[in-house]
Structure formats: structure tokens, C-alpha cells
């Protein structure tokens, strides 16, 4: 297959860019870094689309079922017979979908950055990191080995760290990058232990083999892993839940979501790429990747579903109260990923039952476009007003017509307005939820209303609602910003993504990506759609009522909501809880005592041994009194003592 020969190139292009820019960028390629990486990525994207097309339309399907193809495999690190980290590429529907999304969104972001980042320092590093991220993300989605996936998982985390901390002289950015890395690291701990559990019992790290062994309920491996239990819970559940914890961390699921809003300190295109479209859905992808195994364990699936649903709801509530536009988007991302997650959680393996799986992937697909569009739009806005705060914005629709239009499309899409992409995927999710869990369906429905509300709150606040504060009047803004709405390279991605946001919903998704690889017949039930659409419209109307024009209502209502508003505005104090745990308990409760013990007790023991020796030495100094007669007495005492001893011992 020709595919296999050039699929390697897809991740290698960005890797090469990373290496070149990383090693030589600072001196020689500072100016051309952006162009180089964009071009390279364009190649990657084209290759990815060709590969995916090739897979979906010709080579992938055998007997109506999409195959899992190992395109390439190399034993990278052999642990023990059968257990090895292989570097390989797994080609299957979701990985093909992902490489398209990743390369495409990344390309858009690169393009956008060309304009957005103009004039910033260290651009070579910026593009190097972006390329590193793209490489890692591609590696992640193509991984054929669960440990390989983990490796790229970590690499993705590091590139995210580097990109969030790109403005490293801003303490907030440094803190945010650190937080993001550490929180996800903490979650990865679960992933790692989960891998250990699964791999130990399945005696393989290969994903295909792992799935095959653990889903065959009669196999010795499956019996072993379900038989072994710890604290009354089977090893399989433990393994899956731990793996899911890793995914939840990366995907900012409650309660591991706290890093995501802070991560908005990074450059906005980065947020669009990493924290909207690609990295944050890695958790969803991970669950999807192991979906056959997950689907054998109801407990794990329930946890996935409830974590997803609660994240979706909580994030949506918080999003309604935030004033930093990127944070609103961040919570919205979290909320949408919550959707995907519970969609997986309510799904089953195969056939009609697997609707949730397909819906989740579908939503992942559409969300990538409209969410990155939202971020890039927000980026364009921020580029314009040099602020993230809503109160510094307003009335921008005249100044930035293209941005405004695109942003509106994205808002409508995410709100689930019919005929836009978000509508289709969300309908599928709600359908799936309806069929398996009414409670989650209720939550999801409510959340979708909230989504429409906060998105339009955002929309109106930015583009309508004349701002009241004296400083930068739109005109002044214009005067200040010679670049106006931005260069073509900034507008082009917006337009393309807007187009995708509209069209993506019409892709016959269920024909290509399903839990078992077999096409699935889906249909939109119009009656079923009424409730969510009405809710969404209500949300939009409410937002318009409150925020379209400057008025006192938002404050009045927020005042009436009182505690709830304040709690939501403070993100339900989860950050504070974390700070308390880390600072008070871990730092002061473990770290400080550990350091203290080391300095005083453990080291004190060593020093104490020395001191004791010195004490003994000075205690016995009196023996050497300088008096000859004392010496003689000791001499005699020695003789007497030894004599007694010898005679005693001899007998």
C-alpha cells in the first residue's frame, strides 16, 4: 500500500521542522520560521487528507468493515517477552479522522499565527513548539501501542507546557503552564498505573492485542484481570478507571479541569489548537481507542458517563459568569468535551447500541472546527483590543465584520442551531443519552440550553453591547491599531473554519466511524430535536435580552442569584480547594516536615553519631591524666581484669 510509505511523513514533517527550528532557529531562521513550518504543515495536512481519503474510500473497508491496519511497527523498548513498547502506526477510522483534524486545525492556527504573532520575539521557538506539538499529537493519535500513546501523551503535555509558558516573563503564564503540566501529570499517574495494570494482566502493550485479549471474555487474560481484585473492585475496572483518569486530566474533566482556564495565558492561537481542538480531546480519544475494553466494564463506563455529564454541566454554569472571553471559551470547551465523554460513557459496543460512540466522535469532529474558530475569532478580537476582558469590548461588529460573521456562525453551531454542524452531532449525543440514561439526558439538555446562553452572552458582549468605560473607544482602537482587523492570513483561517463549521455536520459520519467499524444508519428525529433547539433559542434570547445592549439587568439578576452566582463566578472554589490541598497539606504538611526531618532527624542522626563519638572521646580523656602512678594503676587493673577473665574463660 502506498499509504504506508508516506504516512510516516505526516508526523515527521513537523518533527523535522521542530528540530531544524530548535537547533538553528535562533540565529538563522528567526524571520522565516513561520513560513517554513506552515509550508511543512501544509504538506502534512495534504498527506493526511489523502491518506484518510484513501483509507475511508478505498483501502480501509474490507467486507464492509473498516479495518485496523498497522502501517508500521518497530520494537522500541523490549521489557519482557511479549511486552514491549513498539513504535507503530495504527490506521483505523478514528485515527484517520484525528490526523485530519490535527493537521487541518494546526494548519489553520499556523496560518493565523503568521499574522497574529507578527512582531513577537522568539518566533522560531513558537513555531518549533507548535511543530513539536503537532508531531506529538499526530504520534498520539496514530499510536499502535498503549505505551507509545503514553509517550506522545507526555510529549503533548510538555509542548502544551512550553506553549502556555511562551510568554515566560509573565509570571501568570509561568504559573499557568506549571499548573497545567502538574495537574495533567497527576492525572497521567493514573494513566501510567492503569497501563501497568492492564499490561501486566494482558501481557501486552499493543493496543490491538490488548483489546483482543481483554474483550474475549473467555481468554485466560480476561479471566485473570477480572478475577484479580483490589479493595473489592476488579483489576479491569481499576485499570480502566485509572486510564480514564489520565484521559480526564488531559481533557479537563471535573475535577481535574482546573488547569484549562488558566492555560488561556498562552498565545490565543495555541489555545485554539491545543486547548480547543486537539489535545484536550485526547482524553476522549483515549477512551474511544480503548472503547472495546471499556465497553466490557459497566462500572468504568458509568464513571466515564457521570464524570462527563457533571463536567459538562459545571463548566457550562461557570462559563455563564466568567468575564474573560478566553476563559468562557475554555469552560465551554470543557463542557463540550463533557458531552463527548458522557456520550462514550452511555454507549455500548457495536451496532445501534454504539450510537453514543459514533456521536461522540462526530461531536469531536465538529467541535474541532467551531471551537477553534471561536478561539481564533477571540484571538482576532484580543489582537484588536489588547485585552481579554469583556468589559473592555463591545460594539466591535462594525470594526471587524469578517470576524463577527465567523464568530456568529461558530456560536450558532455550538448552540446546536439546526443545519449547522453542532446541531447534528449534538442531536446524536442527546439521542444516545436518551436511549440509555434519562438522567444524563436531562443534564445534557439543560446544558445545551446553558451553552446557547453563555455563547451568546459572549457574542453580544463582544460585538454589540457598547462599552461604557471611557478608554479605548472603538475609534480610538482603530486609531491605535494600524493593522485593523488583521491580515489576510488571519482572516483566511476564520473563513475556512467557518465554512467547515457549517459543512461538517453534513458529513455522513456514521458511515465511516462507528464503534465496530460497520456503517450505522442514523437519522435525525425532528420531534426529538424540538426540545434542544427550543432551549437553545431560549438561551439565545435570554442572552440577547441581557447583553445585547448595555443595561443594568445582568447585575440585577446576578445579584438576585446571590450565592449561586458568586459560587459559579468563583468557579465553585475548586481552585481554592486545590490550593488548600497543595499548599497547606502537601507543601506544609508533607514537604516541609520531610525537609525538616531530613535536616534535623536523619542528618541529625549522622551528626549525632559524630557528636556522640566526640562526647565519648572527651569523657574518657581523664584516663590519660598525665600522672604516671595512675598509669601504673590502670596497668595493674588491666592485668587483674584480664587474669580474672582468662581464668574464668578457661574453665
Amino acid at each position: 500500500m502506498p499509504m504506508q510509505s508516506y504516512i510516516l511523513l505526516i508526523p515527521l514533517m513537523p518533527l523535522a521542522v521542530f528540530l531544524v527550528l530548535g537547533l538553528f532557529g535562533r540565529k538563522k531562521l528567526a524571520a522565516s520560521a513561520g513560513v517554513i513550518s506552515t509550508v511543512a504543515l501544509l504538506l502534512s495536512a495534504v498527506l493526511a487528507i489523502i491518506t484518510a481519503g484513501d483509507y475511508f474510500f478505498s483501502t480501509g473497508k474490507v467486507n464492509g468493515v473498516y479495518q485496523h491496519i498497522i502501517a508500521f511497527k518497530y520494537t522500541w523498548l523490549q521489557f519482557s517477552p511479549g511486552v514491549a513498547i513498539d513504535m507503530g502506526f495504527l490506521i483505523d477510522p478514528i485515527s484517520m479522522m484525528m490526523i485530519v483534524i490535527v493537521t487541518f486545525v494546526s494548519l489553520m492556527v499556523h496560518l493565523f499565527s503568521l499574522g497574529y504573532m507578527k512582531g513577537e520575539g522568539r518566533l522560531h521557538a513558537y513555531y518549533a513548539f507548535l511543530s513539536l506539538f503537532t508531531f506529538s499529537m499526530l504520534g498520539l493519535v496514530l499510536s499502535s501501542n498503549i505505551f507509545q500513546l503514553y509517550i506522545f501523551w507526555e510529549l503533548v503535555g510538555v509542548s502544551s507546557y512550553l506553549l502556555i509558558g511562551f510568554y515566560f516573563d509573565k509570571p501568570a503564564a509561568v504559573a499557568a503552564s506549571k499548573k497545567a503540566f502538574i495537574v495533567t501529570r497527576f492525572a497521567d499517574l493514573g494513566f501510567l498505573v492503569g497501563i501497568l495494570v492492564l499490561a501486566f494482566n494482558a501481557e501486552t502493550l499493543d493496543i490491538g492485542m490488548l483489546i483482543e485479549r481483554l474483550t474475549n471474555l473467555q481468554s485466560s487474560w480476561s479471566l485473570a484481570i477480572t478475577g484479580a481484585s483490589f479493595m473489592g473492585i476488579s483489576a479491569l475496572t481499576w485499570g480502566l478507571v485509572l486510564v480514564f483518569a489520565g484521559g480526564a486530566g488531559k481533557s479537563a474533566m471535573f475535577p481535574l479541569h482546573i488547569w484549562l482556564p488558566d492555560a488561556m495565558e498562552g498565545p490565543t492561537p495555541v489555545s485554539a489548537l491545543i486547548h480547543a481542538a486537539t489535545m484536550v480531546v485526547a482524553g476522549v480519544y483515549l477512551v474511544a481507542r480503548l472503547f472495546p475494553v471499556f465497553s466490557t466494564d459497566a462500572t468504568a463506563m458509568d464513571i466515564v458517563a457521570y464524570v462527563g455529564a457533571s463536567s459538562a454541566l459545571i463548566a457550562a454554569i461557570i462559563a455563564c459568569t466568567q468575564t474573560d472571553i478566553k476563559r468562557v471559551l475554555a469552560y465551554s470547551t470543557m463542557s463540550q468535551i463533557g458531552y463527548m465523554m458522557f456520550a462514550l460513557g452511555v454507549s455500548k459496543y457495536g451496532g445501534e447500541q454504539g450510537l453514543g460512540y459514533m456521536a461522540s466522535m462526530f461531536h469531536l469532529f465538529t467541535h474541532a472546527f467551531f471551537k477553534s474558530l471561536l478561539f481564533l475569532g477571540a484571538g482576532a478580537v484580543i489582537h484588536m483590543v489588547h485585552s481579554n476582558e469583556m468589559k473592555n469590548m463591545g460594539g466591535l461588529r462594525k470594526l471587524m465584520p469578517v470576524t463577527h460573521t465567523c464568530f456568529l456562525i461558530a456560536c450558532l453551531a455550538i448552540s446546536g442551531i439546526p443545519l449547522l454542524s453542532g446541531f447534528f452531532s449534538k442531536e446524536e449525543i442527546l439521542t444516545a443519552a436518551w436511549h440509555s440514561n434519562k438522567f444524563i439526558y436531562g443534564v445534557a439538555l439543560f446544558t445545551s440550553g446553558l451553552t446557547a446562553f453563555y455563547m451568546f452572552r459572549l457574542y453580544f458582549s463582544i460585538f454589540w453591547n457598547k462599552q461604557n468605560n471611557p478608554s479605548p473607544e472603538p475609534d480610538e482602537v482603530k486609531a491605535h491599531n494600524t493593522h485593523g482587523e488583521g491580515t489576510l492570513s488571519m482572516k483566511l483561517p476564520l473563513v475556512i473554519l467557518a465554512g467547515m463549521s457549517v459543512l461538517a455536520g453534513f458529513v455522513p459520519f456514521s458511515a465511516y466511524i462507528t464503534s465496530d467499524g460497520q456503517p450505522l444508519e442514523t437519522h435525525i428525529d425532528l420531534v426529538f430535536s424540538i426540545a434542544p433547539v427550543v432551549l437553545a433559542l431560549t438561551g439565545i434570547a435570554l442572552a440577547a435580552y441581557l447583553f445585547r445592549y448595555k443595561n443594568e439587568r445582568p447585575e440585577k439578576y446576578s445579584g438576585q442569584l446571590g450565592g449561586l452566582y458568586k459560587a459559579a463566578y468563583s468557579k465553585f472554589y475548586i481552585d481554592e480547594l486545590y490550593v488548600f490541598i497543595t499548599k497547606k497539606i502537601i507543601f506544609n504538611g508533607i514537604g516541609k516536615p520531610a525537609a525538616w526531618i531530613d535536616k534535623n532527624i536523619v542528618d541529625g542522626l549522622m551528626n549525632g553519631a559524630a557528636a556522640a563519638t566526640a562526647t565519648v572521646a572527651s569523657a574518657i580523656k581523664g584516663i590519660q591524666s598525665g600522672k604516671i602512678q595512675n598509669y601504673a594503676l590502670y596497668f595493674f587493673a588491666g592485668i587483674a581484669g584480664l587474669t580474672v577473665m582468662v581464668i574464668y574463660l578457661w574453665n
Binding site: R26, K178, L189, L605
Partner: protein, 502 residues
């Protein structure tokens, strides 16, 4: 290949250094010597592969054996297996980098480079020894040069630290000595009826269980002190932080590995049954070292202390890997030794470079250096990333191998230890990112820093050298794995052969 060359060449270098005049000659000679050491090490690797691929399955290659003291049956017996080759490579890397970073040592430079070369001879000797007497000889050989290096060229409370290090390492070697003598007298009938110090011979014999149980703790704890076994690790922070850069690199990079190697090669290999019996205790201590070292690191302000405590934590992985007694975990332990050696040397080199420019190592006094001295800062960040186990760098590979191996041991205590050890990588991330974040990121804290100059060629070369090693392992671990695994397999064979007593 004649392995004696590895001892003789550094010694010759040391002697040549003594005959030199002036810093320039001295450093040129020691640089040349170190380069040839590295070439020798690579040559060794090459011929080792050749032999292995040619099907030579002997446990130790390139053996040479001549009687030194017939009456005690002490031999000059040398040879290498994959583990030793890996350690020799590590040593060569670190020594060359050490010479490079101390390029401008202007006080008593002759003595400095002499001691450095002398130390490396000791390390090579240790790794190629197949006779316990020789092994011990080379182990102790290194104590005094370290004392002098810290005492003369060190900083801070150097005298205290130097003395503490010397005494604690001496305590370690004393314990080892006791254990070795005990072993010696329990090696009953060799062919000629005499006791034996020969590693390979002893491995073929069965040391009585009672003797094993008695002497294993001596040997293990003795070597453990070298590799920062809790609670005997306290020389590590003080010693490392007071030492001059090259000495810190050597201490953490190589010297601590002597201990790990000894724990493996002497304690576990020769006393497999005792290793089984004591393995829970080892695990407990190693886990404490890992976790507690990591938490203690979190509270440090001095960069060298940070790295020193993190070394305690990282060397805990070595001991954990050894204590887990699975082939994979032992392989992981060796890989961790190599990885940690390179990584910590790089870290210390970076800290040294920072310190020589800013004259402070306090995290809270530094800031924003990435903008001013990007090369050094990048090196620093990379060392940090390696320390926290970033894939693509060596630390990840080694730690993961240890974890994979550790999990193979199904005992619940071992599992708990493994999980805790895994958890330490989170803490590692916390302190590394804290150090990195405050030091090279953030705003510039001191206007003086704006005038700092970036790394010179020698520093760059040193850093690149170590980075090459780190990346070579991180990106392509299979060669190291392949190098080490047969050795680990032989050790495990020994362990498995021993009747399980637990």
C-alpha cells in the same frame, strides 16, 4: 580489547597532568585524555557488539586474569558485560564533560585535573573488576580525591561537607568490606580448596543461606550508602552542593552509580537468596527515598540542593529496580543509573554555568535568564525535563522500565511501592517546574543579569555531549536495553535458581 587500558590510560593522563605547567597545558592534556577515554569507551562498545553478534555468549567478555596475591587467592581479574560497558560509557561521558566545564579552574589547576583523572581511573577500575578485592580497592580509591575536590575547590560549608562525605562513604565501604570478607570466608571449596574473591567463581558456588542472610545487609547497605539509600543519604545534599561543578557531576553521575552497581553485581548477584529475603526491606527503603527525597526537594531553595535531593529520589529508583528482582526492573535500574548519571551531570553542569555567572544558586534570587543566556537556560530546562521523565529523553525510558519491571512483582507491598514510586514523578514535576519556572522564566530579578554572557564553547560542548547521550537513550533506548538485558538476565537467573524461601 585490553581492558586494563581503561585504568592505565586515565592514570597516565593523571601523571601527565602532574608534569604539566600552567592551566593551559594542564587542561589540554586532560581534555585529550578524556577524549581518548571516550573513544576507548566507544571502541569497547563496538568490539563488545562485534563479539556478541559473533555469538560469543560468555557472561563476561575480554577477561584477563592474573594472580595478584596467591595466598589470599586475590586476582587481578577483569572483564565486562553489557552492564559494565554501559557504566563505562557513562563514566567516559561524564568525565569528558567534567573536564570541559572546569576549563577555567585557575586555582591549583594541576591538582584539580589530576584528581579528576585519578577518580575516573577508579571508576573504570570498579566497573571492570571481577574480583571482589579489586572491586573494593577501586571503590575506596575514589573516596579521598572526592574529599580533596570538595574541600579545596568547593564552596559554602565545604569542609563540613567534604568530611561528612568522606566519613559516610568510608562507612559505606567499611560495611562493604565486612560483607566481602564474610563472603570470602564462606566460599568453601574452589578447585584448589581455597577461599575466593572471584566474582564469577563465587556466583557458581552456593554461599550458605545463613551467611547470605548475615552479610547481604552489610554489602547492600554499604553500597547503598554510596547510592543514597535512605536514611544514609545525607551526605548527598551537603556533598553535592559544596562540591565544585565537575566534582558534583562526578559524584552524582558516577560515584553514586558505583553503589548501585555494587548492590547489583555483588549483593544481589552473589547472594540471591538473601536478596529475595531482604527485598521487601529494600523496597520499603527505596520507596521512602523516592517519595521523601522528592518531597524534601520541593522545599529546597538552593539549586544544587534541589538536584542533590532529586538524586536521592532518582537513585531510589535504582534501588527499587534492584529490590524488585525482576529482569525488567533490574534492566531498568541499570538504565536509570546511566540515565541519571548523564542527566544529573548535565543538571549540575548547567547549575555550575549559572552559578559562575550569577554567583547565586538561590531559586528565589534568579529569574528570567532564558532571555539573557538562552543556551544555558535551555540546557537547564532540558536537564529538568529529563529529570521529570520527559519521553524522548533518557529519564523516561529508565523510569518506565523500572515501573514495568516493578509491576511484574505481584506482591501487594511491591505494588504499593510501585504506585508510590510512580506518584513521585508528579512531585518531581512540581519541584522541577518550580525550579525552572523561577530560575530561567519569569521577569529578570536583578539588573546585573542583563550583562551576562552565554555559554562558551567548552561549556556548550560539555552540555551537548551529555545531551547527546541523554537523547540517544531517550529516543532509541533499544540499544541500551539490548546491552543491559543479558546481564540482568544472568543476575535474575541466579536469583531464580535460588530456592524461593519467602
Amino acid at each position: 580489547m585490553n581492558l586494563s587500558l581503561l585504568i592505565v590510560w586515565p592514570l597516565l593522563t593523571a601523571l601527565a597532568v602532574l608534569c604539566c605547567k600552567g592551566l593551559k597545558q594542564v587542561r589540554t592534556v586532560s581534555f585529550g585524555g578524556a577524549v581518548i577515554q571516550l573513544l576507548l569507551a566507544f571502541f569497547l562498545l563496538m568490539v563488545y557488539w562485534q563479539e556478541r553478534t559473533a555469538g560469543n555468549a560468555a557472561e563476561m567478555l575480554f577477561q584477563a586474569d592474573s594472580t595478584l596475591y596467591a595466598s589470599f587467592n586475590i586476582h587481578y581479574h577483569i572483564g565486562v558485560d553489557g552492564i559494565a560497558v554501559a557504566m563505562i560509557l557513562l563514566t567516559a561521558f561524564v568525565v569528558l564533560a567534567g573536564v570541559l566545564v572546569s576549563w577555567d579552574t585557575d586555582t591549583m589547576s594541576k591538582e584539580f585535573f589530576f584528581l579528576l583523572s585519578f577518580l575516573s581511573a577508579g571508576a573504570y577500575g570498579f566497573f571492570i573488576s571481577l574480583d571482589l578485592f579489586m572491586l573494593f580497592f577501586f571503590l575506596e580509591l575514589a573516596v579521598i580525591p572526592k574529599f580533596l575536590l570538595i574541600g579545596i575547590w568547593g564552596s559554602g560549608k565545604k569542609e563540613y561537607s567534604a568530611m561528612k562525605l568522606a566519613l559516610m562513604l568510608m562507612a559505606g565501604s567499611s560495611l562493604v568490606f565486612t560483607g566481602l570478607v564474610g563472603l570470602y570466608f564462606n566460599t568453601g571449596a574452589t578447585a584448589d580448596g581455597a577461599h575466593s574473591f572471584d566474582l564469577l567463581q563465587i556466583a557458581q558456588m552456593h554461599i550458605p543461606l545463613k551467611a547470605q542472610l548475615l552479610f547481604f545487609p552489610f554489602v547492600f547497605v554499604g553500597f547503598g550508602i554510596f547510592t543514597a539509600l535512605f536514611p544514609f543519604h545525607t551526605w548527598v545534599p551537603d556533598g553535592h552542593s559544596s562540591a565544585p561543578t565537575a566534582a558534583s557531576m562526578f559524584l552524582a553521575g558516577i560515584s553514586m552509580k558505583l553503589g548501585g552497581y555494587g548492590c547489583l553485581r555483588v549483593a544481589t548477584y552473589l547472594m540471591p537468596e538473601a536478596a529475595q529475603v531482604y527485598s521487601p526491606y529494600i523496597i520499603v527503603l527505596a520507596t521512602i527515598a523516592i517519595i521523601y527525597g522528592a518531597f524534601a526537594t520541593m522545599m529546597q531553595q538552593d539549586l544544587k540542593y534541589i538536584n542533590a535531593y532529586s538524586s536521592v529520589s532518582h537513585c531510589g529508583f535504582v534501588l527499587l529496580g534492584i529490590g524488585m528482582l525482576t529482569k525488567t526492573s533490574i534492566t531498568g535500574a541499570v538504565m536509570q543509573m546511566v540515565s541519571h548519571g548523564l542527566m544529573t551531570a548535565l543538571f549540575f553542569a548547567a547549575i555550575g554555568m549559572l552559578y559562575s555567572r550569577t554567583h547565586t544558586r538561590m531559586v528565589n534570587k534568579l529569574g528570567g535568564l532564558l532571555k539573557i543566556i538562552p543556551f544555558i537556560s535551555t540546557v537547564f530546562v532540558l536537564a529538568g525535563l529529563c529529570s521529570l521523565g520527559l519521553p524522548g529523553l533518557s529519564g523516561f525510558v529508565a523510569e518506565m522500565t523500572v515501573f514495568m519491571g516493578a509491576w511484574q512483582n505481584p506482591d501487594r507491598l511491591y505494588r504499593l511501592a510501585t504506585v508510590l514510586a510512580c506518584a513521585s514523578i508528579v512531585v518531581t514535576a512540581v519541584y522541577i517546574l518550580r525550579a525552572v519556572g523561577q530560575t530561567v522564566m519569569g521577569p529578570v530579578t536583578d539588573s546585573h543579569y542583563n550583562n551576562l554572557s552565554d555559554a562558551k564553547w567548552n561549556e556548550r560542548l560539555a552540555a551537548v555531549l551529555l545531551l547527546v547521550g541523554i537523547v540517544a537513550i531517550g529516543v532509541a533506548p533499544f540499544w541500551l536495553n539490548k546491552l543491559v538485558t543479558p546481564g540482568a538476565a544472568i543476575i535474575m537467573e541466579q536469583v531464580n535458581k535460588a530456592v524461593t524461601i519467602k
